[in-house]
Symmetry: C2
């Protein structure tokens, strides 16, 4: 009998591959997903059930991933700019998967996931509000906009790398500079 941790690990690897396949092509058929995940269509059904169940599982997993990134970044209590940098660096890998799935209408009718999204939005919201209270972030932009803006920047960076215009290692600097300092030339450099 295999050890539990290995079972879970293999299962998580599978979820990861399925998530990647769905992110790259959201309308992929179960056959395409199975091929991309390197399993048979039968196994996909055995493990996840129906296609709807599969999408739900992937979606829940992505929400967990996001929570983990938030937890690890110290979004709730670490010094603001330090948490910011960790947030950018750690959320970059899941940016596209996350975005592609939240931008889709299929799950609008699932209150559980709507709530999960709303909770994470609120958490990011509080982060920027905290940064404003600490005098780090400018107070004349709504925290919600700062949150959306950061999300968009991270996704743009993902596409920049995906399109071959930059390396993954440059992402933290590019996002940090653009978001924090803006694009204008300024005397202080």
């Amino acid at each position: 009998m295999m050890e539990v941790s290995e079972i879970d690990g293999e299962r998580e690897d599978l979820v990861q591959r399925v998530a990647n396949a769905l992110s790259a092509n959201h309308g992929a058929s179960t056959g395409e997903i199975a091929a991309a995940a390197d399993v048979s269509r039968a196994t996909l059904h055995r493990v996840f059930g129906s296609r709807e169940d599969l999408v739900g599982t992937v979606y829940g997993w992505l929400l967990e991933q996001c929570d983990r990134v938030f937890d690890g970044s110290g979004i709730d209590d670490a010094p603001v700019l330090e948490a910011f940098d960790r947030l950018v660096e750690d959320s970059y890998p899941i940016a596209q998967s996350y975005w592609m799935l939240i931008a889709k209408p299929e799950l609008e009718s699932v209150p559980e996931f709507q709530q999960g999204i709303a909770d994470q939005d609120a958490r990011l919201d509080r982060f920027f509000a905290r940064g404003q209270a600490d005098g780090v972030f400018r107070p004349d932009l709504p925290p919600r906009w700062l949150a959306y803006s950061l999300g968009g920047q991270i996704m743009s960076a993902w596409y920049l790398v995906d399109d071959g215009h930059a390396g993954a290692r440059e992402v933290p600097r590019l996002v940090r500079t653009a978001v924090i300092e803006g694009v204008l030339t300024r005397p202080g450099g």
Copy 2:
């Protein structure tokens, strides 16, 4: 006989509605698209041909819209910051449609559209390079990243409004402030 302008106008309205339907739900069936565009499925096929043709038509139309926005903003020769403001304001309405379609794999195999995208990317690229040469934009970030970054910001703003967190009238200020000045509190205010 109806006047030509009315025919064209009605046809363009239809394309617009189809584009909206496809943007909101990229995997919509022809029946759903027809319902959303308020025509019958038969008419949809009569006007556009196959689903593939329909998507191609919408895609080409969006590329034209984008060109028109670029032309009208003075992206190629107007003063940089003035063009920037017009660019943000005018591209905001088509942001989601444009993004949803370029992020999709269906048209990767159509060289014509790839070229259209590449041309527009290059045009935006030159804009930021010009801004850097003029000393307006900071020179330590690649123009390509500035282009992607702006695109992401505009799309984030679109979602911010769509989610009810801001009004469309606030978009220019939000995007301009975040992109140009950054989110940091600074002495100069």
